[in-house]
Amino acid sequence: MMLRVALQHTQGGFHLDAAFNMDGGVTAIFGRSGSGKTTLVNAIAGLLRLQHGRISFNDEVLFDADCGIYVPPQARRFGYVFQEGRLFPHLTVKHNLLFSNIFLSDKATAAEFDRIVGLLGLESLLERRPGALSGGEKQRVAIGRALLARPRLLLLDEPLAALDTQRKSEILRYLELLRDEFAVPMLYVSHAVEEVVRLAGNVVLLSEGKVEACGPTADVMSDAALRPLTGRYEGGAVIDAQVVAHDLQYGLAELKFAGGSLYVADLDALPGESVRVRIRARDVALALDRPTGTTFRNMLPCRVADIADGAGSMAEVTLDAGGSTIVARITRHSRDELRLEPGMPVYALIKAIALDRHAVGYA
C-alpha cells in the first residue's frame, strides 16, 4: 500500500503544511501536543476537510482540494482508534464490536470476530456496557471495533494517552501483537518516544505544523540535529540491532549492532529477530579506558563525534559506535575533568538493566 499526504491549512495563528508518504507497516506521527498531529490524522480519516492539498491511497484519490474531490470518512475504509475510545454508550461491547457490520457489504465473518475477540481478551466483556469498563478495557474494545471494520489502514490517535502506566504497557503489548498478527498498516500518532520506538518502523516528525523529518525510526530518533524536537525530556538515541543469543540463566539477551554487542535484560525475542533499542542519554556513562571490576555489562568502544552544552550543568556527548549513534548526558564537570574532545576514543558504559523490555521494539 501507499498513502500519500500533502496538506496545507491555516486556522487562527496555526499553520499546517505537511507532506509525507507511508507504505505498509507502522508509521508514527511524532510531535509535541499542538504540533498538528490530530488535525493531520483527522484529515486523513476524512473527518476534517482542510483548505488545500491532496490525499491518495494507492491509486485512489481521497481528497484533492483543487479538483474538489472529497471522499467522506465512511467510504475511506480507514479504521480509527481515538484517544478517548468513543465507544457507543447505548450498545453492549458486542454490538460496539459489530457496529460496522450494519453498514459494510463485506462484513467481518464470525471466525474473524472470534479471532479478534480472543486476541484482545474480550470474551468476558461482550455483554457489558462501555460505562462498566475500565480505561484499558475500553481501549481494547475500541481497537477491536476498528479492526472488525476491516480497514485498509488503521489510524491511532494517542490511544494510550488517557491510561495509567500499567494499562499503557498492557495495550502496547496488544498493539504489537496485532501489528504482527494482522497485516493492517498503522498510522500511529504519539508524543511518547517509548511507544514510537516499540511500535513504529518509520517516523514522521511533526513540529508546529511542519514535517521536520521523515524516515526510519532509528535514523530520525538518533539525529542530533532533531534532538530538540525528539528528545527534550527523554533524550537519547535509537539503534537497530539483531538478537544473537539468550542467556537463560541470567535472563539476558545479547544483541549485535554495528558498534558491537549489547546485553539487554528480560527480552522475549527470538535469536535472529531485528529490534530497535532506545538508549537514553542519561543511562550512558563514559570512561577513557576500559574499566575493570564494574557492574556495567555494556562497554562499547566509541569515538566522540560532538559535544554540546545541555541545559544547566549538563553536556551532551554524541558518540559514534561503528556508525551507530549513541548519546551520553554527562555533567560539564566530567567533560572538563576527562578533557573530552571530538575525535577522542572513549568507552560508553550502559547498565543492562537500563535496557529492558520497555526500551526495545521489534522491527
Binding site: 480519516a45 481515538f82 468513543r86 447505548h90 457496529f99 453498514f103 460505562g131 471495533r145 471494520a149
Partner: protein, 236 residues
Amino acid sequence: MSKEELEILALSLKVALWSVALSLPLALFIAHLLARRQFPGKSLLDAVVHLPLVLPPVVIGYFLLILLGRRGPLGELLEQWFGIVVAFRWTGAAVACAVMGFPLMVRAMRLSIEAIDPRLEAAAQTLGAGRIGVFLTVTLPLALPGILTGALLSFARSLGEFGATITFVSNIPGETQTLPLAIYALTQAPGGDAAAMRLCVISVTLSLAALLLSEMMVRRATQRVMGREAGQAAGA
C-alpha cells in the same frame, strides 16, 4: 363515569395522541436541524418554532382558521387534493394541539440531541455509517429519553389545550369538545358546577398519570441508553 364523560375522555385522548403523532416527525427533523446544522435564517426558524409559546392561543387558533378553514388557502388544497377537512372536526383539534405543543417538543428534543457528543457520530462515520446511518444508529437512540420527554410534554399540553382549539374548531360536543372545552361549557351553564367538578377531577387524574408515566418511561429509556446508574440519576 357516565357515558358522556367517557366519550369526552376518549376524544381528549384521541386528539392528544394524534397531535403527538402528527408533530413528532417534523419536530424531530427541526430539532436535529437546530442542534446540528448551521444555516442562514436559523434564528428566525428558532423564533417561529417558539411563537406558539408566547402568542395568545386565540391568535394561533385564528391563524389556523384563516389558513386551514374550508375557504383558507391551505384548507382548500387539503380538501381538493386529499378530501381532508379539518375545520370544526376533531382532526382540527389535533392540529391545533400539535401546533401549541410543538415548541415544547422541539425544545426537549433539541436539548437531548445537543447533549450527544458529536465525536461519537464521527466515530460512527469512520466505521462506515453515512449521514442517515449515523442518525438512526447513534443520534436517535441516544436522544431517545429527550424524544420521549418531548412527546409526553406535548401530549400533556394537548390535554390542556383550550384557546387555540375553541377558536379554530369551536366547541362541538362529540366532535371537538375535549375535556377543557367541556368543563368550560359546563361552567357557563346554570347548575353545571357538580358535573364540571367531576370532569376537573378526571382532568387532574389524567395529567398526573401522564406525568408519572413520562417520568418512568424517561428513566427506563435513560437506563437502556446509558446504563443503570445514569438512569437512576435521571429519575432522581
